[in-house]
Symmetry: C2
Subunit: 362 residues, 2 copies
């Protein structure tokens, strides 16, 4: 992997990654000149016992591009710079202009009636490819392997910072989950705390490890493979399956068989197989109804809080937006108010539909 770190005119970091050497002389650009937002802080929600992030600069975004303007495409007209320079590279990562969390977060004004703190951390945009009409699943396997190395690099670099305890790469895909920019990209949120859902998963994994001597997800994978009814991809190193306890229709998980704690712990053969699992799932999704399949995809992995995490086992979770063609899954009273998920479908049945989609990996 080749890598080049640059600084944008407004001070934000840009890192280019490539399978080939990156040409000299690339200049980082920015669509705006004003400094990046710093007005972000956290407030403690005492009943839920969690931090809520307030990025009030986000509601005043001054950036109103014409509809044909794509800020994630390489710059072609120097008079209208985008977020990326033109040049030969595969993947780009840069700091969000209007971040929810940032190293630059100011100390919040007068304390509120609950504890507050600056919104430290990082929000990065990961541009998967220069091609605006591509998609994560359409990328060649070696491009996906590079992307896994990029996520690993960001995990290491962000995780090394004192103000960051948890690094979560994710992709929101489709207008159905609020995305209006169709250029293939994901994001990385790097939190100054271990967020509630990973914290809960790690707590459960710790208890299992203490009680059983091996990992919870490791055991579940063994059982899923033995059961065999919900598997989608079974490689030597990585597997993809619909968990027996799937909450969403078409919910799929991907994990290495070995309990690698993070994406940075995958070795080369694991990365190769993980990329194959990922591409298989993505092509099956898009093939299911012969159109781009909207989802939220998240990486759960070991915190970077300086503590040992033998319980952590890297995995990707997909939350699809639709429960059947044209029917969105709405999160309402039971899910939002009680935290109790209600599913109308069984993973044993839904997996048949994805299994029936034939895919070609290369």
């Amino acid at each position: 992997m080749y890598e080049r770190s640059l600084t944008k005119p407004d001070g934000r970091a840009l890192v280019l990654y490539s399978r080939r050497p990156i040409p000299e002389g690339l200049q980082a650009t920015s669509p705006g000149t004003e400094p990046p937002g710093t007005k972000t802080h956290l407030r403690w929600h005492p009943l839920r016992g969690e931090w809520v992030a307030y990025a009030s600069h986000r509601q005043n975004r001054t950036f109103l591009p014409p509809p044909e303007y794509n800020p994630l495409a390489p710059t072609t007209d120097p008079a209208h710079p985008t977020e990326l320079p033109a040049g030969d590279y595969d993947v780009a990562v840069f700091e969000n202009r209007f971040p929810t969390l940032t190293e630059r977060a100011e100390v919040p004004a007068p304390p509120s009636i609950v504890p507050t703190r600056p919104g430290k951390g990082a929000c990065e945009v990961v541009v998967f490819t220069q091609d605006p009409s591509s998609s994560l699943g359409a990328l060649p396997l070696d491009h996906l392997e590079l992307l896994l190395e990029v996520w690993a690099d960001r995990y290491r670099k962000l995780g090394a910072r004192d103000d960051i305890d948890y690094v979560m790469p994710f992709e929101n895909r489709g207008v159905e989950v609020g995305v209006t920019l169709h250029h293939p990209h994901g994001q990385i949120y790097a939190y100054p705390f271990v967020p509630p859902i990973p914290a809960r998963e790690l707590e459960q994994q710790r208890a299992w490890l203490a009680g059983h001597g091996n990992g919870l997800l490791e055991d579940l994978i063994v059982r899923e493979l033995a059961d065999g009814r919900r598997t989608l991809y079974t490689g030597d190193q990585a597997v993809a399956w619909m968990p027996a306890f799937a909450r969403y229709s078409y919910e799929v998980w991907i994990a290495p068989r070995r309990p690698a704690p993070s994406v940075a712990d995958l070795d080369a053969p694991e990365r190769v197989d993980f990329a194959r699992a990922l591409k298989t799932v993505l092509l099956k999704y898009d093939g299911l109804w012969s159109k781009p399949f909207p989802y939220v995809m998240v990486f759960h992995q070991a915190p970077t809080d300086g503590e040992p995490h033998p319980e952590a086992h890297l995995h990707v979770e997909f939350y699809p937006a639709y429960r059947m063609p044209g029917r969105l899954k709405y999160l309402a009273g039971s899910e939002l108010g009680a935290g109790a998920f209600t599913a109308d479908t069984l993973p044993e049945e839904k997996v048949q539909e994805l299994r029936a989609v034939e895919v070609k990996l290369e």
Copy 2:
């Protein structure tokens, strides 16, 4: 409050409630003849440590009414019965035909690779009024007081059942949260466990009570009233405010000042004032953009698990669908994958907009 319990032809319960005596001879109806769904079970999500409900009968609903047919309106043509009889009553409660949770839940088939159990509990529909064009906020104060008595009655009756540990009334309002039936109605989910979000809130409240000697929400209300920047309704018995740690734009909470554990513990003056607080909030919501304001509204209260809950303090939480006119709040990577809420707005600012809406309570 007058009350009449009936049984539908398909065996489901129907209870009518009224401010006036209910006429004799009303017959319970049902739009269908087939027995209510029983194919519902729970599976244990070992990583999140929570139960997921699978109601597979829901995906095969046979009921496809014509668009003008309203199953929640009183029956006018005996050849096409709705869920409700014609007659003089104010509020009706009946069991959902395709419940996620039901007393009739069958023992699930062969165990999966995770623990499973029948989907015991109850799912009830609460029809707020016979008038299909009304809304919760448009109902007269004494009708809202009756409704609080209805919720209290359901809390007591459902909570007394051995298979029910938590009773949660809620309303999903608007197509934005997945509702296609516009007749004013809410639902009650009665769970065979204390669901994750109330469980978390109660855990936090217990810890606070143990450490401070008084209730967490009680203390927060005192502080909010002293601060004064986020209050919307300040009655002798009940208050409505936007919490300092609001996660949604326009998120409002309503609670009695006294830490009444449940809606069944409100005394008559508290019910009167709570109804005023509720109507105030609802009228402000609908007045904000001069159109029906979509939201999810949930009641959090004491579990009915047979344990003492001195920490519980009844409150209503509203989760609005929009963060500004025409802009939905999407829950995506950070909210769904990390459980970390990101807000673009501050409650101190948003509350000003609701305060500016003038309302007439009667």
